[in-house]
């Protein structure tokens, strides 16, 4: 078994394209190690594989007294700007629509306990995150995930992130139709698509089945889809109301209506057109203004819409736009058990409380959706294995993650609910209160995030403990409030759309900094994140539990019958809302209240010294740089194949590297060149060879001729010498491509 790795063991289990992408990434890691890749290019490359930075990865940590250097081995070796190679990082794992199988849960649990700290964390966008992961473990981790159909591709970086979808889609009482297959098709279509490789910033899509619920939160997404049906010539036609330019972040924007109704056959080409407009006109230099919301705001929705419509007309036809529609009539989820009813079965004391908050009656009679309430979105590998067995027993593969950091089991036959509850409870996953005031959402904050200012998770844990302890006595008006916490202004905890939201900041008192949370009141979770809350002032972190008590008590005392929290905040106004927290805004001295100067769950004297440069924005690198890096990796793989005495594969990879390099160059002028080698070579010849732009001062067209020769006359049985020669030629060709690109300036001119 010596030298047999996961790559060999899983070769038959991984889809070929996924396996190849991972090999390429591994090659790029090796090239980075050899100093042959630019650090920014590699950073964006790894981000697009979901390999993210983590707090302290710049090698500095404040210990409460001073900032100290963490003495990693090979401290000079980096994996991106100011990011040490050996420092542990975070791995984000995409879960489109939150959909998971039991087998996928098993493998996620295994990679968590072998490569991270054994904790799986569900994010606010239905992803999983593993923390404290070493970059050198990531290729094998990706292979193991790929073997069960999970990709980490474009989980981070300036790319199309996880496509979220309502976790109730398909079983919801109020949806127009099931948005799931559309969100899946969307995710597949744009994954790695040429037109989404040149964004200045990340791009988050969401799908929702109905307007009034929270569902997919489409109003706060870059591109959001609300299911609609209209009648045309007496026939029902499916489609979506499409929103664009929403987003939270520092400056939240409500999405604008791009289209009142986009028929189902048009949603993919329209998304492609949106992507092209964003890639072409979106900000690239100033990452703080690079999300699509700023482009929409700058152009105005009418002009943006016009550009998208014009762009749509120019798109070359793609069969994938509608191919998936043929599968829609066959799309269905299958329950594992027949429908049954709860007919007064004897159940435990905790069951009723859990049933009230964690069970949703599906529109299909006799079935329910059960929410597994994960504290702070966390579960252990051990819990996950048992959970996957519970899923197999009761619901099969009908499992989804939610944007409130929980997991749902769908299609639970109703009479199974009591036994299911007992089994969840036995592994510590039977907490009631899902979706209520105790089910608090929090981003990682200072626990692991480089940008975190205050401890969002520490605060969430404290509030959860306190509110759970008194949950039985909480007035009904409070029970259903949403509390959401972000560790900084970037809003990963989605505080803008909660009733009571917080985001971390700091204030100075004397010579010390004190962790604070800005209080944001009256955001709306329902109606797909229908409106954003008002920031009313910042309070010391340690006062937040009292602040929550004060606000909720006043709400209970003053609310009119049926008045929601948003309506109450709207009625009392910002000034009065601020006066509620005013008593807490006074800052004590360190000597008076030293515990105010450390954060929840962290006894160190508070400091901002650990904040690093965030990688949320990715690195702004040119499209050419990203694509030529892939070509270089293919050439590297060719060398590996030759070392493994496989000249045929080496020859093929070397040729592929030249085609990829040529394509990268062609795409600086002509984005739609496609993937056909014939077309790429032809365009390369016309644009760069015949014009002599590719010519070297001395070698003239020699390097370009390498490509033409191999393209026209492939060697049917190359030996090692021939393959070696071709590899050398491919390396020279790639070098010449770099030179040519810098000579012509790499302007991306759209030419259809």
């Amino acid at each position: 078994m010596a030298n047999i790795g996961w790559k060999d063991i899983l070769a038959e289990e991984m889809p070929l394209d996924m396996a190849h992408e991972i090999d390429i990434f591994e090659g790029q890691m090796e090239l980075m190690g050899q100093g042959k890749l630019d650090e920014k290019v590699f950073a964006e490359t790894r981000l697009r594989r979901g390999v993210y930075g983590q707090r302290y990865d710049n090698g500095q940590r404040h210990d409460g007294f001073e900032s100290r250097e963490l003495e990693f081995e090979e401290i000079e070796r980096i994996k991106g700007p100011d990011t040490i190679w050996h420092a542990p990082g975070m791995q984000r794992i995409k879960v489109p629509g939150g959909g998971l199988t039991a087998e996928q849960l098993d493998v996620l649990a295994q990679v968590a306990d072998e490569y991270s700290d054994g904790i799986l964390h569900v994010t606010t966008r239905q992803d999983f995150q593993l923390h404290f992961v070493h970059i050198e473990d990531t290729p094998d981790m990706m292979r193991r995930l790929a073997s069960v159909g999970i990709t980490t591709r474009e989980a981070c970086g300036n790319s199309v992130r996880n496509v979220t979808c309502c976790h109730l889609a398909g079983v919801c009482q109020t949806e127009v139709f099931d948005a799931t297959p559309y969100s899946e098709a969307f995710a597949q279509f744009l994954l790695g698509h040429d037109d989404v490789q040149d964004f200045g910033r990340k791009f988050k899509p969401a799908f929702s089945g109905c307007e009034s619920e929270a569902c997919g939160l489409v109003m706060m997404h870059d591109l959001g889809y609300l299911a609609q049906v209209r009648e045309v010539d007496g026939k029902q036609q499916r489609g979506f109301k499409v929103y664009v330019g929403g987003g939270l972040g520092t400056v939240p924007h409500q999405a604008k209506v791009l289209s009142e109704f986009t028929p189902e056959e048009e949603i993919l080409p329209e998304a492609q057109a949106v992507s092209r407009v964003f890639a072409r006109l979106g900000e690239k230099r100033n990452r703080n203004r690079a999300r699509i919301k700023f482009l929409v705001a700058k152009l105005g929705i009418e002009e943006f819409r016009r550009l998208v419509i014009e762009e749509r007309k120019t798109l070359p036809h793609d069969d994938r736009w509608t191919a998936y529609l043929e599968t829609l009539p066959h799309y269905e989820e299958k329950p594992t058990r027949p429908p049954t009813f709860l007919n007064g079965q004897v159940s435990s004391a905790g069951f009723q409380q859990w049933f009230e908050t964690n069970v949703y009656a599906q529109r299909q009679e006799g079935y329910s959706v059960v929410t597994v309430n994960l504290p702070l979105g966390d579960l252990t590998s051990q819990q996950t294995w048992v959970l996957s067995d519970i899923a197999r027993k009761y619901v099969g593969d009908n499992v989804r993650t939610t944007v409130e950091q929980n997991i749902v089991l769908r299609w639970v036959s109703d009479s199974d609910l009591p036994s299911l509850y007992e089994e969840l409870n036995a592994i510590g996953l039977g907490d009631a209160g899902a979706g209520t005031v105790v089910d608090i959402t929090a981003c990682p904050g200072t626990d692991t995030c480089k940008l975190g200012i205050a401890s969002s998770r520490g605060l969430a844990a404290e509030l959860r403990t306190r509110l759970t302890a008194k949950s039985a006595s909480l007035p009904d008006a409070i029970k259903d409030l949403k509390i959401k916490i972000s560790g900084c202004f970037n809003s990963c905890g989605q505080h803008h759309v909660s009733d009571i939201g917080f985001f971390g900041n700091s204030r100075r008192s004397g010579n010390f900094k004190m962790p604070h949370f800005q209080v944001v009141l009256g955001g709306m979770w329902r109606e797909n994140a229908g409106s954003y809350g008002l920031a009313v002032g910042a309070v010391p972190s340690k006062t937040v539990p009292d602040v929550v008590d004060t606000i909720t008590s006043r709400y209970v005392e003053e609310r009119a019958k049926g008045e929601t929290f948003q309506e109450w905040i709207g009625r009392i106004g910002k000034k009065e809302a601020r006066s509620l927290i005013q008593p807490y805004m006074k800052l004590p001295d360190f000597e008076q209240q030293p515990d105010y100067f450390s954060d929840w769950g962290d006894p160190r004297v508070f400091s901002l010294g650990d904040i690093g440069i965030g990688e949320c924005a990715g690195e702004v690198v040119s499209l050419f740089s990203m694509e030529i890096a892939t070509a270089e990796s293919e050439a590297f793989e060719a060398q590996v194949a030759l070392d493994e005495n496989d000249p045929a594969r080496a020859d093929s990879l070397a040729y592929a590297s030249m085609v990829k390099a040529a394509r990268a160059l062609v795409r600086t002028q002509f984005l739609d060149v496609g993937d056909s080698p014939d077309r790429i070579v032809e365009e390369f010849k016309t644009r760069f060879f015949d014009t002599e732009l590719f010519f070297d001062q001395y070698a003239k067209g020699k390097f370009g001729q390498y490509l033409f020769d191999r393209h026209q006359s492939p060697n049917p049985s190359p030996d090692n010498d021939a393959a070696h020669r071709l590899i050398e030629e491919s390396l020279l060709f790639i070098e010449a491509t770099h030179v040519c690109e810098s000579k012509v300036g790499g302007n991306v001119l759209i030419e259809i």
């Binding site: 078994m1 295994q110 404290f132 504290p375 626990d447 692991t448 844990a461």
Partner: protein
Amino acid sequence: MTAPQRMSVKFYFDELSVDVEEFIPVFHRWIRENVVPNELLLDVADYKHIIDGPAILLVGHEADYVIDLTDGKPGFLYVRKRDLGVDLPEALATTLAQALNSIRLAETDVELQGKLKLRTDAAKIVLLDRLNYPNQTPNGSGSNDAGQTAQSQLAENLGVLFGENVTVTRVENDAREPLTFELNAPAAPDVDTLLGRL
């Protein structure tokens, strides 16, 4: 047998009269004072909200230290993640040495002294490496079973440390879980004695 990618050993608490939360400032101090030789300590993670899980983690580059409540058996878990050596005996020696050293650190810590005591007559050893140590059901012949080979190597090496009558039992856990063994010794040698034998 090649060294596993990761290996952990958990010693169980005999006494624990301190809330797990109180390990947080202790671990932060351990980082600040760099108390563990040859290891880089990085951060403290608080997972006490998870029932029966790894309550408090001291995360390091080479290893993690965990106040672990899994299976309702509170213990001090040492997870070696890097530099385990070339083979299983070396990995075991490295892991045990550092684990025992950390027990001594905890038991003698200025804030924890007298509040905890760990048993040294029982431990759980886990080989976190499904590639080289798959958790397969023994096939009977024993020739291809990594579990059986690992078990005999562990027993041999642990016998030197804990005495001849030590037993190393393979835990009959689910195949998805890592290969796991329980160590039981007839006596509980003190930590210094064990370290002296390593």
